[in-house]
């Protein structure tokens, strides 16, 4: 189980990082999503992997750590909100620049052109 779990986290994180380095906003968002999945699973594993254990002290001989579950829940909520915001922002980028390149390549006139007009007056 440990090997499978580690492989899953590794694959998710590696694909996430790969997609994150793409030049278009859509793969970047997908990459961040995958990365956050990987991170959430990793956080989940910090309480040690075990099956069939109860998270309440006193009801069984051994118990699973309840804290990572709370942490993961918080991380999922925050990650969800951030992803939603990022989707809206990249749509805005698409609308503003008519291009979904992360650097908004088109219409990217340097501000110095304007300055020269002012100085020449």
């Amino acid at each position: 189980m440990e090997l499978l779990f580690a492989l899953v986290i590794g694959t998710l994180t590696a694909s996430g990082v790969y997609l994150l380095l793409r030049a278009r906003t859509f793969p970047v968002i997908m990459g961040l999503t995958l990365l956050s999945y990987g991170v959430n699973l990793f956080l989940f594993a910090t309480g040690r992997l075990a099956t069939g254990q109860q998270p309440v002290i006193g009801t069984a001989a051994s118990y699973s750590d309840p804290l990572p579950q709370a942490l993961v829940l918080t991380a999922i909520v925050i990650g969800f909100a951030m992803t939603a915001f990022l989707v809206v922002l990249s749509l805005r980028n698409l609308a503003d620049n008519e291009n979904d390149h992360v650097d908004g390549q088109r219409n990217n006139t340097p501000p110095s052109n304007q300055d020269q007009e002012v100085t020449s007056k």
Partner: protein, 512 residues
């Protein structure tokens, strides 16, 4: 247990919620309420400063859980100092914003207050995971604020800022997970107890976690390889937001100062002074990079944004060396530089508003209105930022230079800081003389004169540097005491033994 500790979080939270529901109320009412909220927050921060100045630790345990089991807020001198710093900055930025920058977005005040709340949580929290939550709260508010005012120029830097910070959050979670998996706790005081006891293979896990944490804080603080997002994003944000963001990089520095001396301090055994040997050269390179950027800046706001990076480098170098005197000097300089940089952002925006098409570009243009007032403010800000006597930047840098022991590090620090200051001075004199002195013939179609709120808030924020000089004695005493308190982590660890309120009604205890 005093309930004052929660006030700097609750006040902006309630004020912000109120603003959310008042989006359609008249703007004057919204402004009055929002500024009243910020004033209340400043009052609570000052009360906490007075409480903390007796040198003891105060905790606020949520739900009365005995630490380390619940989340605690911890008030000490450092937290109180940062709270007051932020509240003063927040108040003047808010007054400036109410001079017209808050129009065009109904939720500006709500976002602004949530941002302040996030900052306050970050300064007060005594729990590593709660620090992550605080970072997220202040970041999501800052994403909204960065976009405020619209304009296509803000989309791309905003996108970079958001993506970078999301990656930073993922790294933060990974490092928190690594540390938790070994120590089984996230309470900072408890971590300070557990980390020195770690041994064997687990040592490397904690080490990796600690170093990754440093990367995350480095991203927030904009240390060199992670600083390229900052100038574009800050230079294009609207002025009160950019000025408030002057404290955002300081959050990263605060987190380093809070976590590293406490958890990886002298007593941490094999993990003592983790990462600090990396931090010192990086800080100096960051400083040099900031100076180069400032020399090459083609408009005032970019120049000030690079000044943010210069101050980050200047602050982190003595912190990395880890002496009490260095930490004390860095804290003194932190107060001074945060207000100065924020004031310079506001001045740049005022200049931009008066120069029509030339805006804040460093080019010659016809004479602007209010030239004397604005140039004096710029002069004060530039003198304080470059570190010339008699303003507070000079004293901050002097303290930093005095704090190093003779040796190789002293040579490097003195060399880089002094040459850096000189070149910064050149950058400011060039910018100031072109913008304010070299006027060409013609007249500008200036939109409208400055209103009182804008000019008064900028004026006072700029003159705070003089206030620091007048109060240099008390302020440096306070920062020295803060540094001593940070250096000795036993006090912080003792909060684990702090008595938490026990319910008087014995029936509640019998449910178990």
């Amino acid at each position: 247990m005093t309930h004052w500790l929660i006030a700097p979080i609750l006040i902006p939270l309630l004020g912000g919620i109120l603003q959310v529901f008042m989006g359609y109320a008249p703007i004057s009412l919204r402004r009055t309420l929002a500024i009243a909220t910020t004033v209340l927050m400043l009052v609570s921060a000052v009360v906490l400063l007075l409480l903390a100045s007796d040198g003891s630790y105060r905790i606020y345990a949520f739900g009365n859980w005995q630490p380390p089991f619940g989340i605690v807020l911890v008030l000490d001198r450092l937290a109180a100092l940062m709270l007051v710093l932020t509240a003063v900055l927040g108040l003047f930025c808010h007054i400036y914003a109410s001079g017209g920058a808050d129009e065009g977005n109904r939720q500006f005040h709500a976002l602004f207050l949530f941002q302040l709340m996030g900052l306050n949580i970050a300064f007060l929290t005594g729990d590593l995971f709660n620090l992550f939550v605080a970072f997220e709260v202040l970041l999501i508010a800052s994403y909204g604020l960065l976009m405020h005012g619209g304009g296509t120029t803000r989309t791309v830097p905003g996108l970079h800022y958001v993506v970078l910070n999301l990656v930073g959050s993922a790294l933060f979670l990974i490092s928190v997970g690594m540390i938790y998996s070994v120590t089984g706790t996230l309470n900072m005081a408890d971590l300070a107890v557990k980390i020195p006891q770690v041994s064997g293979n687990n040592l490397n896990l904690v080490k990796a976690g600690g170093m990754m944490l440093l990367v995350v804080f480095g991203l927030k603080a904009a240390i060199l390889p992670l600083c390229f997002w900052l100038p574009k994003a800050y230079a294009r944000a609207t002025a009160p937001v950019a000025a408030l963001f002057a404290v955002m990089t300081k959050v990263g520095i605060y987190a380093i100062v809070r976590i590293y001396p406490l958890m990886f301090g002298e007593g941490a055994g094999e993990l003592a002074n983790l990462g600090m040997d990396w931090l010192f050269p990086l800080a100096l390179i960051t400083l040099s990079m900031g100076v180069i950027g400032a020399l090459g800046a083609d408009n005032l706001k970019t120049l000030v944004a690079w000044q943010v990076i210069i101050s980050v480098g200047t602050l982190l170098a003595p912190i990395a060396l880890g002496s009490v005197a260095g930490l004390s000097a860095a804290l003194f300089y932190l107060v001074s530089t945060t207000w100065t940089v924020a004031a310079l952002f506001l001045v740049s925006e005022l200049v931009a508003n008066q120069r029509g098409m030339a805006a804040d570009s460093i080019v010659t243009a016809p004479k602007m209105r209010h030239r004397t007032f604005l140039s004096v403010l710029f002069l004060i800000g530039a003198v304080a930022a470059a570190g010339l006597p008699p303003l507070s930047g000079f004293f901050g840098k002097l303290l930093i230079l005095q704090s190093v022991e003779p040796g190789v590090e002293m040579a490097w620090l003195w060399g880089v800081v002094l040459v850096g200051s000189f070149l910064t001075l050149i950058a400011y004199s060039r910018a100031g003389s072109i913008v304010f002195w070299w006027n060409v013939e013609g007249h500008l179609e200036t939109p409208e004169p400055m209103n009182n709120r804008v000019s008064i808030s900028t004026g006072i924020l700029t003159c705070l540097t003089m206030l620091i000089v007048v109060l240099a004695g008390p302020v440096s005493d306070y920062t020295r005491a803060t540094a001593e308190q940070l250096h000795d982590n036993r006090g912080y660890i003792n909060i684990l033994q702090a008595p938490v309120h026990v319910p008087k009604n014995p029936l509640i205890g019998e449910i178990n």
